[in-house]
C-alpha cells in the first residue's frame, strides 16, 4: 500500500507511526511515500524556522516532504490513497482525483456534528457526550464526504481540549489501520452524512476564549442571574450556552492548552484610578455545596489558578490577597 499523508501538528504523529508500522514492506520500506505539511515558519524571539511535527517525522524516516499538495500531481508521486489529519489547508480538486481510493479524512467528531476546524473544543463546550471520530472519504465540500467509519469516545470530567484531542487521534490511529485493508478491497459501505443535522465549529482565536466577567462572577458564588440565560459562543455557528457553573467549567477546559479562557478584571492603581486588565483562567473545578437552612443544594465554580496580564500564574487565593479590590463587574 502506498500512502501520502497530509497533516501538520504533533498530535497526528500516532497516525503516521501506526501506518508506518502496520504496512511496512518486508524489505522495511515505509508505506508513507510522501507527506504534505505546512511549510516551516519563523517562530519565537529569534525568529528561527520552526518545522512542523510531521515535517520532522518525515525527515527522520527519510520520507519526501512537500509543502504544496499540487506538487504530488506535478511530480507524479505514485500513491494509492491519501490520509489527512489536521492539515490546515484546502486540497485542490486535481489532487483529490489523483488518488485511486481517494483521500480519507480523520475528523475528531461524530459527523455531521461539528464540521470545520474546532470539533474537539465544541464537543466539550456543548457537552456532546460521547463524542468521537469520523473517518470520511473527502469530497469537494468541507467535512461533507461519506462516512467510512466512526467510533465513540466518552468525554471525561477533567478532559481538556488537549487531552481529549490527543486521545481521539491516538485511538483513530488503531481504527484506521484496522479498516484500511477492508476499505481498499471495497468491503465497506460508505454512509452519506445527514446534512440537515450538520453543525459547525470554526477556527478559534484568542478573542473566542473571553468569558464575560459578570457571568464568571455569578457562578463563582454558586449563583446565577435569571437575566443572564444566553451566552453566545462565536466560533460555534449559531450556538449559545446557558451560563452556569457547569458550562463555565466546560468552557475553561475546552480552551486548554490554547487559547486559554480569560476575562476582564478591574483593579485600582496607586492614585485610585480604576484600570482594567486581562485575567487568564488557567484552572478551575466544580464544587457541590450542600443544602443549608436557607439555601438549596448548588454547584459552584471554584477558580484554582489565574494569571494577570504581564504577571506569573498564581493561585486564586494569592491573587485575591494581592488585589483585594479586584472586581468583575462588566
Amino acid at each position: 500500500m502506498k500512502i501520502i499523508f497530509f497533516g501538520t501538528p504533533e498530535y497526528v504523529i500516532p497516525i503516521l507511526d501506526s501506518l508506518h508500522k502496520a504496512f511496512k514492506s518486508t524489505s522495511g520500506e515505509s508505506p508513507i511515500v510522501a507527506v504534505v505539511t505546512q511549510s516551516p515558519k519563523p517562530s519565537g524571539r529569534k525568529q528561527q524556522l520552526e518545522y512542523s511535527a510531521v515535517d520532522t517525522w518525515a525527515h527522520k524516516n527519510h520520507v519526501p516532504i512537500f509543502f504544496d499538495a499540487k506538487e504530488i500531481v506535478l511530480k507524479n508521486i505514485k500513491a494509492d490513497i491519501g490520509v489527512l489529519a489536521s492539515f490546515g489547508a484546502i486540497i485542490p480538486d486535481a489532487v483529490l482525483k489523483y488518488f485511486q481510493y481517494g483521500i480519507l479524512v480523520i475528523h475528531p467528531s461524530l459527523l455531521p456534528q461539528f464540521r470545520w476546524s474546532s470539533p474537539v473544543p465544541a464537543a466539550i463546550i456543548t457537552n456532546t457526550n460521547p463524542t468521537g471520530v469520523s473517518i470520511i472519504k473527502m469530497d469537494n465540500k468541507f467535512d461533507h464526504g461519506p462516512i467510512v467509519t466512526q467510533f465513540k469516545e466518552e468525554i471525561k470530567e477533567d478532559d481538556t481540549y488537549g487531552t481529549l484531542r490527543d486521545r481521539l487521534f491516538a485511538k483513530s490511529a488503531d481504527v484506521l489501520v484496522g479498516m484500511l485493508p477492508a476499505y481498499i478491497k471495497g468491503k465497506i459501505n460508505l454512509k452519506m452524512q445527514d446534512d440537515s443535522k450538520a453543525t459547525f465549529a470554526g477556527e478559534i482565536g484568542k478573542k473566542d476564549a473571553f468569558i464575560p466577567p459578570e457571568l464568571l462572577w455569578s457562578v463563582v458564588g454558586g449563583q446565577w442571574s435569571e437575566k443572564n440565560n444566553e451566552w453566545k459562543i462565536p466560533f460555534i455557528k449559531n450556538y449559545s450556552l446557558v451560563p452556569s457553573a457547569y458550562s463555565l467549567d466546560r468552557f475553561i477546559r475546552a480552551m486548554q492548552p490554547w487559547p486559554i479562557a480569560w476575562t476582564n478584571v478591574h483593579l485600582s492603581s496607586k492614585n485610585k484610578v480604576q484600570i482594567t486588565k486581562k485575567l487568564k483562567i488557567l484552572k478551575a473545578h466544580l464544587k457541590d455545596l450542600p443544602a443549608t437552612g436557607y439555601r438549596l443544594p448548588a454547584t459552584e465554580l471554584v477558580l484554582d489558578f489565574v494569571q494577570l496580564e504581564g504577571k506569573n500564574p498564581v493561585s486564586w487565593k494569592q491573587f485575591l490577597e494581592g488585589y483585594p479590590e479586584a472586581n468583575f463587574s462588566s
Partner: protein, 175 residues
C-alpha cells in the same frame, strides 16, 4: 440559534414555568431556538423539547414525532385517559422513554394513551387536539417539564428501573 440543553442536574429544570402572555418577538425567537436545537439532535434523535430545557421557564414546547414540528404554547389538559400503558412502535415493540436532558438513559414508563389538550400555536391560534400513543407520551413528558418534573420522577413513582445505553449495551443503574 442552537441552545445548550440543560443537564438533569440543573435546578432550572425544577422550576415551574410561567404562562406566555403575548407571543412577541422574544417568544418567536425562543420558539425558533427550540426548533433549531431539536432538529440537530442525533444521538439520540430528539422528538420533543421544552423551554425549561434551554433555561427558560415559560410554557412552550416543540414536538417532532415525524417530519413535522409542532409548537405548543400554554397547554391545558382537557382530558386524559385513566388507563396507562407503554407506547409501542409500528412493529408493536415497546418504546422506552428518554430525555435530551438525560441522554442515553431510558425507562419503561406507562403513560396515558390518550390526552386532549387546549393550547396556542406559534401564531396565537387556539386549538383543542387529541393525541394518541407515542404523541400522547411526548405531550405528557413535555408538560411534566413545564411543571418542573422529569421522567425519572415518574419512573420512581412507577417503581421501574432506569437503564443506561452505553457502547451498544444496556445497563441497569441506581436511581
Amino acid at each position: 440559534m442552537i441552545r445548550e440543553i440543560l443537564d438533569a442536574k440543573d435546578k432550572r429544570l425544577r422550576g415551574k414555568s410561567k404562562t406566555v402572555a403575548v407571543i412577541d418577538k422574544k417568544v418567536q425567537t425562543l420558539i425558533k431556538d427550540l426548533k433549531d436545537t431539536l432538529v440537530v439532535q442525533n444521538d439520540p434523535d430528539g422528538i420533543g423539547l421544552a423551554a425549561p430545557q434551554i433555561g427558560k421557564n415559560i410554557m412552550i414546547f416543540v414536538m417532532k414525532p415525524g417530519k413535522e414540528i409542532k409548537t405548543v404554547i400554554n397547554p391545558e389538559v382537557v382530558f386524559i385517559s385513566k388507563k396507562k400503558e407503554q407506547a409501542q412502535d409500528d412493529q408493536k415493540k415497546n418504546i422506552m422513554e428518554g430525555c435530551l436532558s438525560l441522554p442515553h438513559f431510558y425507562g419503561n414508563i406507562k403513560r396515558s394513551q390518550k390526552i386532549k389538550i387546549k393550547f396556542l400555536d406559534e401564531k396565537g391560534q387556539a386549538h383543542i387536539q387529541t393525541f394518541n400513543g407515542l404523541d400522547a407520551q411526548i405531550v405528557q413528558h413535555e408538560i411534566d417539564h413545564l411543571n418542573g418534573r422529569l421522567f425519572i420522577d415518574e419512573l420512581i413513582k412507577q417503581k421501574k428501573p432506569l437503564f443506561e445505553y452505553k457502547n451498544g449495551e444496556w445497563e441497569e443503574v441506581e436511581l
